[in-house]
Structure formats: structure tokens, C-alpha cells
Symmetry: none
């Protein structure tokens, strides 16, 4: 399975951080591999502690489903989604704020953000992905 | 992160207890720090055992979200809320009855009550917070 | 099942607090009923967050086994002890620092302390129990 | 409770990374606050996925006990250690490879590393802490 390198994950975080200056809300940003395991993570000063858990959970959802975590909300009450959430002890959150990372049509990771409104979270994830030359869709 | 001292937590509990004489229903009252860890807790005689768990869960919710736990009920079925509940093994309850504690606009803890109707629970938490000179809002 | 009242639990905590002035180490003290559910709990300023969990776990062990939690350490690796710990998600700790509370030979609760050396923890629990006129043995 | 800032956490990670060039084994490095919540984390290319969990677990142990996680191994089978591990779902690992971070004698966080031999892990954590001007002991 091809993965983001740490250097690439840090470029994504740098791009997300730049976007965050504009957004003006402190956030956590997590970059995970296609299996949902962390590659890099930051929590900006002043971000609530809950966001350290939520940003990872959303990134795992995008990695698991190869799509925007926001698109998963519609089916979040389905047995499949609830079963998977339970198997993972809640560590997969099908809520807006994360996007998968594709390179040449192949998933190489996912990025989750938490701390702002959920659209802001997603915007920050997208900015990070695109600024590093990747795409949130195949 | 500034925390309530034990002396302050006990003042809050004293104020809540005074309010409980008026309400006339026995309750549990928990005071937690901004991370959701207990500082002080009481269970009045005759309060059901379930309330010892519920008052803490509601206080953790207020600490995590920096707002009234009752305001969280509307989104309690959201993926973020369910994911966080599961990650915390249910030890965060987004139901009415807890309020955050602010000093000079900064969160220093949260207070949860359980045993009465949920509005009564919240009233008791509020009475404790305000009688000790703190505010349930920034 | 006869229980400590809240007033009695607070007398125990007052006695433990007096002992803590002498010991000179900040601690958490939890008073639970014979079922292991909290009646009252305090965390002194400067006590590590882990102690909020540990004092309760030790009190539950004393309530479960009707004896000093320190006496349980010898068999802490037994299948029964490990099974019970697992069923309770670790929320029963067979380690020194808690004592049961008896009145007229009948258990009415348990007291756990955490924050010092384990003998200090137990001494504080004992001081609280005895100062309130109860006994740590039948 | 005073916390490391993100900028300080990143200095620690930079120092750890420099040390890793010398050690020659890829690792994960996690920086947590005194409560054990992540501030920043990196996984170097080629580090096994298990290390993403282990580095965090060891950092939480150092944060919880305010000491080297390696010093905790001797008592890792104690009821207190096992109880706390279970309450935290294993997310506290009393094994060598993490150190607390002190500033002016006060804990401000902890650093855990995983991927090499456990002494190497600890050396990397120490190098990060000291290169950023902090101390692993009070």
C-alpha cells in the first residue's frame, strides 16, 4: 500500500497551518495513512482537548471509506457505520472535517481537522492536501 | 490551564446544596476540572446509584464542549458526539444538567448534577456556580 | 444494605484531611458505599490526575472484598482477581490504600486514598474512618 | 496546569529527529500535555504501525507518573499499574522510551518514542527534550 511519507504529511500540515491563519480558529490536524494510523499530528495552542480525539476519528473515517468524512454523515446511523464505529471504540467518526488524499488516483492517506465549524475543518484539510500537490478525490 | 481549587469546588457544592434544600429532590453533584477529571463530588442520601455516574458524565460533556450539556442534546446523535462518547466509554453525556465554570472568561471546570428533572439538575449546577462567584458562560 | 450517609462520609473526609496536614502530601480521597458507588470524593490541589482514578479503584476493591485493599495484593494475580478487574474495566484495584468501613460489625462503605506512598494512603483512610467513629474491621 | 506550546513541542520533535539521524532507526515520536493528550506526533518512514500506538502509550505513562516510563516497568504488574492501564484501555504503557518534560521544576508535558530498542527510544526522547531547553527531571 503506497503511503504518504512523513515529509509529505508535514507539507500537508504546513499548508493546513497557513490556511488556519486565515480561518483564525485554533485546530488540531491529523494526517493518517490509508490504514488510519497516524503519520503526523499537531494541536495548535488553545484548541480544546476533545479535538485531539475528533480530528483523528474523522481522518480514520476518510481513510476507511476513501471519501470525504462529511459524505458519510448521511449513513452514519446505518448498521454498517454503527458497527464499524463500535468495533473501533468510536475511533472512526463519519462527520465532516476530513478528506482522503489521493496521488495518481490511488489513496495514500487522509487528513482530519477539528476545532472550528465542520465546514472550516474540511476547508483546512483541503487546503493542506492541495497545497502539497495532492487531491482529495481520485 | 487554570483549574478550580478544591476550596472553590467545595464552595460550588455548598451553593448547590443550599439550592437543593429548596428543590427538595436528593441529587449527586460533581465538580470536574477543564479536562473532565473529578475535583469533588457528593451524593445526597437517597439519590439513586445511577446518578453517581450520570452527574460525572454530564460534567465531562460541559468540560469538553465548554458549554451547557443541555445545549449538546440537539446534536447528541451526530457522529462527532457519538464517536467521542464511545472513545470515552460513555463517560461523556450530552444531556441537560451540567454547566461549565468560567472565571474571567476562561474555563476553569464544570459542574454536573443528577437526580431530579434535568432542568432541576441544571438549576442546581447554576446555583452552585453563581453562589461561588463564577459564571456558567464566558 | 445499610450505607454511610453523606454527612458521615464528609466526617470521614474531614478526618482524612486533618491527617493529610500531618502527612504533607496532597491526595485524593474517595468514600464509596458497600456496592462501590461514590458517596463523596475530594482531590486536593496538586494531586496528580491519575490519583482521581486510583483512589476510587482502591475503594471499590475494599468494598468488594470487605477488607483492606492492601491485603488483596498477594492474590492480585489470581484468576478471580484478574477476572473481576477486567469485568470492571480496571475500576477495582487490589492495592494498598483503601479500607472498608464497618459499623457494629456490618460493612457500610469503604475509603480509598491515593497520592502518597501506599502506606501513607492507607494511614489517611484509616484516620478518616476512625476519627468519624467507625472501624476498618468487623 | 502549564502546557508546552505547539512551537515548543515541535522544537522537541526537531531535536529528537536530529538524534534519530545518529541512531539510524526510524521511530515515532509523540509529545503530550501533562494530562496525556497529544500536542504533536510524527512517524518516520518505515516505522511499524504498532509504534504509532506505543509511543503515545509510553508518553501518557510519563505524564501520569511524572517520571521516566522505564522506571515504571518494575511495578508494571502491580495492581495500581494494571488497574490504571485497564481504565485507560491500555493507553498508558509503563515501558522504557518516554520521559516527562519539566520547566522550572514543573511538569509541562511528556515525550514518548518507539521504533528502536527501548534504550534508544528513551535516548531520542531525552535528546528532544534537552535540545529544546527543557529537562526530563524536576
Amino acid at each position: 500500500m503506497p503511503n504518504l511519507t512523513l515529509a509529505e504529511a508535514q507539507q500537508i500540515i504546513d499548508g493546513a497551518t497557513k490556511k488556519l491563519e486565515e480561518v483564525g480558529v485554533p485546530m488540531c490536524v491529523a494526517v493518517v495513512d490509508p490504514r488510519g494510523d497516524l503519520i503526523a499530528m499537531i494541536r495548535q495552542d488553545g484548541t480544546p482537548w476533545r479535538s485531539t480525539l475528533i480530528c483523528q476519528g474523522k481522518a480514520v473515517a476518510s481513510a476507511a471509506w476513501l471519501r470525504s468524512s462529511g459524505e458519510l454523515t448521511e449513513n452514519a446511523q446505518s448498521p454498517v457505520s454503527r458497527g464499524l464505529m463500535a468495533m473501533l471504540d468510536g475511533r472512526m467518526i463519519p462527520g465532516q472535517g476530513a478528506l482522503p488524499v489521493f496521488r495518481n488516483g490511488e489513496i495514500v492517506g487522509a487528513v482530519g481537522a477539528s476545532g472550528g465549524a465542520s465546514q472550516q475543518d474540511e476547508d483546512v484539510a483541503r487546503a493542506g492536501i492541495e497545497s502539497a500537490g495532492f487531491s482529495p478525490s481520485p
